[in-house]
């Protein structure tokens, strides 16, 4: 080994999936068709067409096989191969290739190369990102087809030679979708952006990925890294490989820092030591997070707190947390309405609601009815321009004005109710008359459905958001009327403090640690407890590590939050007893200012987590 081989090289890349990895580098050289212009004799067209058809059939069989092997495990990844089959059978591509063979007497491989490349180029130049991505799919299918022409067996990353960092010029969608997840430490490529298939898949798998690294091949070429990778024994586990590599050094090794966006090839001793520590810290953090993710949310003295999730769509990623949360505390339905050019149909809504209800099995899913107005508008719904939209015609008020909109949503909800445990939550309730009026409409909808002979669940709970101070102050009365309530701390804070949360000029007046807010929440919690009705907090504060102990101290036993806060909240809860949280809550209510509350909460948090 000569000296130049140990020279450390540092390259910048785009960290599209966070993480740190170190190990030997495996350079992946995918099949690259080498096709030159070539023509056939007129007499040979029939044979050439047959050759083309055979290659298509072989490619289709490959795609079908991958699809079958993936469809159980991952619908999304399997879908990539379905889309590839569609491209392979695209009528126009097929016709053009046939005419290039039959009329222009092109050799079939050359015909396919030209037709596919032509369209990949055309789509690759379009403005629309989604269409540009189709270009990668077309090239992917083209390479497969041309490989089948040449009878070359499939080459992919489904079996890696041990734990390695996979490096390539670019990875096609089919490469990433079938990658050997047991052994891939990280992905580094010369090409690729944050929205590419590879980036999205790497993120989904939690594989650190650094894309768009200029000069990657040259940097690795010096190392002869690809051959080194093959010597790593197959059974070596990923984690030990990382540790060993950083401990011992060696040529052909690289560190992928997909936090800061750096790839270091052949790291020197100092760099290795630095990353050895950094990796340890990162892994510890990840381990702690993972550990708490699936844990039962208990306080230090064993009181069970129910943890819910806030979701904004019915997408797969949004539902990923269903495995480690107890319920959906807030399902914002606005996405169904805002992504559209026209009002979503009852059927479209029904499908989305069913999806979420089914994902949560028999556990409660709290669906908030349409909350439009304020900062959110719909392109197809004319609204008068208002001086103070947050104090204007929004949410439930707007639904009362557009009964059609409201009824369609309620119909979809009740129809979906037989597929799970549905709770309907009304936003922007200011007084008892709002609740009674909404209940009247709900009653009408239920009667309509019954008259049509449509089955609905008899166990749908109807509750409200507590976000207007007037309804919070009526908590004793309200608790008797509704099945449950949830405190929307963001709006409650802005209405209580008269500070528009969208207006930067008054940002310092929007104080989410203001003691008055906790006095009010405490009052609501007491009244709901007396009435024996469930109460939840689903605003930002429900997932804020500083305020979670205060809320539990005030009597809350249900908290709902964004999926990313779940681990931290579970961890914080496990460190404090209810008695200590009650002590904190009492002190918070006695505080004079926002800053005082914040300092107090931070002090409690430090003492608690510091005593680990």
């Amino acid at each position: 080994m000569d000296k130049t081989q140990n020279e450390s090289i540092s390259l910048k890349g785009n960290p599209v999936s966070r993480g740190i990895a170190a190990g030997r580098v495996f350079w992946y050289e995918p099949f690259v068709p080498d096709i030159k212009e070539c023509h056939i004799e007129a007499a040979g067209t029939e044979a050439a067409l047959r050759k083309y058809e055979e290659a298509v059939a072989a490619a289709r069989k490959e795609l079908q096989d991958v699809y079958e092997s993936l469809k159980e495990e991952d619908e999304h990844r399997a879908g990539i191969f379905l889309a590839h089959m569609e491209i392979l059978e695209d009528e126009m591509l097929d016709e053009e290739i046939r005419s290039a063979i039959g009329e222009s007497l092109s050799e079939p491989g050359w015909a396919a190369e030209r037709v596919y490349s032509n369209y990949a180029k055309l789509l690759g130049e379009m403005e629309d990102e989604l269409i540009r991505e189709r270009a990668a799919d077309i090239m992917d299918v083209k390479n497969r087809l041309l490989r089948c022409f040449q009878g070359v067996p499939q080459r992919n990353l489904s079996r890696l030679p041990g734990a390695v960092i996979v490096a390539a010029h670019d990875l096609l969608p089919s490469d990433t979708a079938t990658i050997d997840r047991e052994n891939v430490l990280a992905i580094v490529t010369e090409a690729g952006g944050a929205t590419s298939h590879s980036a999205i898949l790497a993120k989904g798998f939690g594989i650190p990925a650094l894309l768009g690294i200029k000069g990657l091949k040259d940097a690795l070429g010096r190392e002869e890294a690809a051959t080194a990778a093959c010597e790593v024994p197959g059974e070596m586990r990923a984690a030990t490989a990382v540790g060993n590599v950083l401990d011992e050094a060696g040529a052909g090794v690289a560190v992928v820092d997909a936090l800061d966006g750096v790839l270091i090839v052949n790291p020197d001793k100092d760099t290795r030591e630095h990353y050895f520590k950094r990796l340890g810290k990162w892994e510890e953090e990840q381990r702690l997070t993972r550990e708490f993710l699936r844990r039962e949310p208990l306080t230090k003295d064993g009181v069970r707190i129910e943890i819910g999730q806030n979701i904004g769509s019915a997408a797969r990623e949004a539902l990923a947390a269903s495995g480690y949360t107890d319920f959906v505390g807030l399902f914002r339905t606005e996405f169904l309405f805002m992504e559209k050019e026209s009002m979503p149909t009852e059927e479209e809504q029904f499908v989305a609601y069913c999806k979420v209800l089914k994902a949560y099995g028999g556990r409660p899913v709290t669906v908030r009815t349409l909350d439009i107005g304020g900062d959110k508008t719909l392109p197809y719904l004319e609204q008068e321009k208002e001086e103070n939209p947050f104090l204007g015609n929004r949410a439930l008020r707007l639904c009362f004005e557009n009964p059609c909109l409201f009824k369609t949503q309620l119909r979809a909800l009740y129809r979906a109710s037989v597929h799970g445990k549905l709770q309907i939550m009304l936003p922007m309730v200011g007084g008892m008359d709002d609740i009674l009026r909404a209940k009247q409409i709900i009653g009408d909808v239920k009667n309509e459905l019954a008259a049509e002979g449509i089955a609905i669940s008899q166990d749908v709970k109807v509750g409200i958001m507590i976000e207007i101070p007037s309804i919070a102050l009526l908590a004793d009365v309200v608790a008797k009327e509704v099945d449950f309530a949830s405190i929307g701390t963001n709006d409650l804070c802005q209405y209580l403090l008269a500070a528009d949360r969208m207006n930067p000029a008054v940002a310092s007046y929007y104080q989410s640690y203001h003691p008055a807010l906790y006095r009010l929440i405490g009052y609501v919690a007491d009244e709901f407890q007396k009435a024996g009705k469930p109460l939840c907090v689903c605003g930002e504060l429900g997932g804020d590590r500083l305020t979670v102990p205060v809320l539990v101290g005030l009597g809350l036993r249900k908290l709902s939050m964004g999926g990313s806060s779940v681990c931290e909240v579970k961890r914080v809860l496990s460190k404090m007893t209810v008695a200590r949280m009650e002590e904190l809550a009492a002190k918070v209510k006695a505080c004079k200012t926002d800053q005082e509350v914040r300092d107090l909460c931070e002090k409690y948090m430090e003492n608690t987590l510091g005593n680990d």
């Binding site: 569609e86 695209d90 009528e91 591509l93 789509l123 379009m126 989604l130 050019e341």
Partner: protein, 91 residues
Amino acid sequence: MYCKSTKVVNATGLHARPAADFVKVSKKFDSKITVTRENDPKNVKANGKSLISILALCATKDSVIHIAAEGADEVEAVETLAALVDSGLGE
């Protein structure tokens, strides 16, 4: 041969899912279906039954397209597809 012009009204245009829906409906007819776009500098003649072809047409919102069909069910094909585009392709 039967043809009709119409304007693309949905936000994403004949892209992604709307394009796939268009192709799916086209394939139900026996007639040969061709789609062109007004003022298309490349003068693409898209095959109505090919997703790649429709995508390459680049028919964004507000573009005017001509749908032509030739075959036994040409009238029904064009009318159905034009109505589909007018309806906003489910958007």
